[in-house]
């Protein structure tokens, strides 16, 4: 049996066996299936209500999809970053006597499987939402999956072969793609300026014949239009060019020599990608792959000993960061504040103070998965070796996060409070509640790690944290609403604050044990 086939078969079989042993797999299957059905049903309702449940809108959506897919694929593959290999591939596959072309296509299988799933969903959506006949949906699947996969696989071989004579051509195509994207943006802006922003104007843009004559991406759109809408001179020409380009690329790829010159870049990207995945798993927000993070120069004078050193070390690390303590949560707060100030008018039916509190609670709820720098502390054995009490370690390992929450809370609450005319004491209360709820989220996360260990993956743990925090928030809001309704509205804020503080301290006390030993609880 072919070695790569053997590898694929055994990997799939072992993963399946392992997954079937875990009860959580069945929960994920049920949830995933329900999500897909709900998604299709939701899209259906949205499309019907919006009056876009016709084949022509399917064509418009696919125009965007095809352009995005083909252009982004080309740029990624040209940078040799579209096919993701693993460090195990550089150990066992690259040095093996296997054709580099075959290895390349083996590495790209994951991309093709994703295409398959997406194209099946598109074909199903075509039938159920956009009233496409089954025959046409099958033809659409043929163009989107079979032809595009042939094109993509050929493109991968062409670009990864790294033949010197084609390098200038590849550079020109990459630049042309950026020019094309810019040109399309300019055309859209000019069109809207002339005809105004309306559904009719959008339709006019999508129906521009030029969009069907742009090499490859436009030709693919023409083929889609030919199948979905029916023949027209432009789409027949475009479709013919598309099929010819697929056949041409396939023939080039089959004849092209591929010596394995891409192994060096692929191996480096495999290491960088593995590192990015590992950092993401630890909760870091990784924005670029393979670039070494640059740090500023900074110094620190430590005040105090024992667990306090954790706080000062974190402070030193933040001083070396480009944006100091302002991170992803600050950005979300700015976006939240901007949306509230410029998009949403001052609420009329709900008191603005409560609305702001709702926005803040919603933001915390949405960002349950965000971990921040503190999370790395628990993976570091030194924290357990520091001669100090676990309670102090817990406090000093997380106090910086509380300071960051305070800053983020101010960034969000002050501009919104001023814009919505919220009394100052309510703004202060909102900020304090935000801080406490963020602390609550953080301690629930530690508790989840301790209780669940490796039983659930990161997603499972996030769902657990969301469920626990959702429950706690629900009880608090219910309690506060009741008191506000029965006694006085002004009691709502202090009640939520005091309630959240009590719950947070209780959860924090439960997590103290996590700072005693590195081992998780049984």
């Amino acid at each position: 049996m072919d070695a790569l086939l053997y590898l694929t078969k055994r990997t799939f079989s072992n993963r399946l066996k392992k997954a079937l042993k875990k009860p959580v797999t069945y929960i994920y299957i049920v949830l995933g299936g329900a999500y897909l059905v709900l998604l299709l049903a939701g899209w259906g309702i949205l499309a019907r209500n919006g009056g876009i449940d016709s084949v022509k809108w399917l064509v418009y959506i696919l125009t965007v999809w095809v352009y995005l897919a083909i252009c982004s694929n080309f740029i990624l593959y040209a940078k040799l970053k579209g096919v993701i290999f693993k460090p195990s591939h550089q150990h066992f596959i690259f040095p093996a006597p296997i054709s580099p072309k075959k290895i390349l296509l083996y590495g790209a299988v994951k991309n093709f499987v994703i295409n398959l799933i997406m194209d099946v969903v598109i074909a199903l959506a075509g039938i159920t939402i956009f009233h496409l006949s089954v025959g046409k949906a099958a033809l659409l699947f043929f163009v989107l999956f079979v032809c595009e996969t042939v094109l993509e696989a050929s493109l991968i071989v062409f670009l990864y072969a790294k033949e010197k004579r084609f390098e200038p051509l590849v550079k020109i195509i990459c630049k042309s793609i950026y020019v094309l994207i810019g040109a399309i943006a300019v055309i859209i802006v000019l069109f809207i300026k002339k005809n105004g922003f309306s559904a009719a104007a959008a339709e006019d843009i999508f129906n521009l014949p030029a969009l069907q004559l742009v090499p490859v991406a436009g030709w693919c759109v023409a083929a889609v239009r030919l199948i979905v809408i029916g023949p027209a001179t432009v789409n027949i020409i475009g479709a013919a060019l598309f099929f010819l380009s697929c056949a041409g690329m396939l023939s080039v790829a089959l004849r092209m020599k591929c010596s394995g010159a891409y192994y060096e870049d692929a191996a480096k990207f495999a290491d960088d990608y593995a590192e990015m995945k590992s950092r993401s798993k630890k909760g870091e927000v990784v924005l670029s792959i393979g670039k070494k993070k640059k740090f500023k120069k900074a110094g620190m004078h430590y005040h105090g000993t024992g667990a306090k050193a954790i706080f000062y070390r974190q402070l030193l690390e933040y001083k070396k960061e480009k944006y100091f303590i302002f991170g992803a949560m600050t950005l979300y707060s700015i976006i939240g504040a901007g949306t509230c100030v410029f998009v949403i008018d001052t609420p009329e039916h709900i008191p603005p103070g409560l609305s702001l509190l709702g926005v803040m609670a919603y933001l915390i709820f949405l960002t349950t998965g965000y971990l921040g720098k503190w999370n790395k502390e628990l993976a570091n054995p030194y924290i357990f070796l520091i001669p100090d009490k676990p309670m102090r370690k817990l406090w000093y390992a997380t106090v910086m996060e509380h300071i960051k929450s305070l800053v983020d809370g101010i960034v969000l609450a002050v501009p919104v409070g001023i814009a919505w005319g919220i009394p100052a004491y309510q703004i202060v209360m909102c900020i304090l509640i935000y801080c406490v709820l963020q602390a609550n989220r953080l301690y629930i996360k530690i508790l989840g790690e301790s209780i669940l260990g490796s039983t659930l993956g990161n997603t499972g743990k996030s769902i657990f944290a969301m469920a626990v925090q959702g429950g706690i928030l629900g009880v608090g809001i219910g309690l506060a609403a009741l008191m506000g309704f029965l006694i006085n509205f002004n009691f709502v804020f202090p009640i939520i604050l005091i309630y959240s503080m009590i719950v947070t301290v209780l959860i924090a006390l439960l997590t103290v044990g996590r700072f005693e030993t590195m081992e998780q609880w049984d």
Binding site: R10, Q90, F92, P95, I98, G260, Y263
Partner: protein
């Protein structure tokens, strides 16, 4: 045999290996020594076909990138990276398929027993400790039945029994006429194994000796003499 001719490799503007040439004949053990950053790993990775380079590398007289050369070449990297979802035995089965090495089940059992992995055959790649991964990596390399084998810091992470077995294995391979190249910092570990020594510094080979040439001279002394450091 392993022949390197005018090998050069740059990373952007940094010259990592500069016009390096050396030769290890059949049935000889070569050791590649040098301080950190001397360019040893770059040479090893170039021989394994993982890097683009200038110059020529030949394995058994065939260009290293050809399929025929790859078929008789084994590589044990410094850091082993396992297939997460493959068991120990399946790693070796994969090697048997990829290299069509003709190794029998009994021979595989023997290799696994030698490195005390026979009872860990059903463990998945992601369930192994670093030392165990290194043992699997060595077993996989031996399962190729190579004519040329490249070992990059092979002793790191191994227990004393495995180090002893590895040393014996290297001597057996030598007896069978296999060319062995070992890159290491652990000089005392290769004291009894080496036939030819290549010392690298600042991207170049600054000295090469055969065991006969140096007589009874200590390997440490020779290394520090050439690199100018102190013991």
């Amino acid at each position: 045999m392993l022949a390197i001719q005018n090998l050069s490799k740059s990373y952007s503007k940094v010259l990592a290996v500069d016009q390096v040439s050396f030769f290890v004949p059949d049935g000889r053990v070569g050791i590649l020594l040098g301080p950190n950053g001397a360019g040893k790993s770059t040479i090893i990775k170039s021989i394994a076909g993982l890097l683009r380079y200038n110059g020529e590398i030949q394995i058994q007289g065939i260009p290293a990138k050809s399929m025929d050369a790859k078929k008789c070449f084994a590589y044990v990297p410094e850091i082993p990276n396992m297939f997460e979802a493959l068991t120990v035995r399946e790693h070796i089965e994969y090697i048997r398929h990829a290299y069509d090495s003709g190794i029998t089940d009994d021979e595989i059992e023997e290799i696994l027993c030698r490195f005390e992995m026979e009872d860990k055959q059903d463990k998945l790649g992601n369930e192994l400790s670093k030392g165990m991964m290194q043992k699997v990596s060595i077993c996989c390399a031996l399962a190729i039945r190579p004519k040329v084998i490249l070992l990059d810091e092979p002793m790191v992470g191994l227990d004393p029994k495995a180090i002893k077995e590895l040393k014996e294995t290297v001597l057996e391979l030598k007896e069978e006429g296999v060319t062995v190249l070992i890159s290491t910092h652990m000089l005392e570990m290769v004291e009894d194994l080496w036939d030819i020594m290549f010392v690298m510094e600042k991207s170049r080979i600054i000295g090469s000796y055969t065991k006969e040439e140096v007589g009874g001279k200590d390997l440490d002394d020779l290394f520090f003499e050439l690199t100018g450091g102190n013991r």
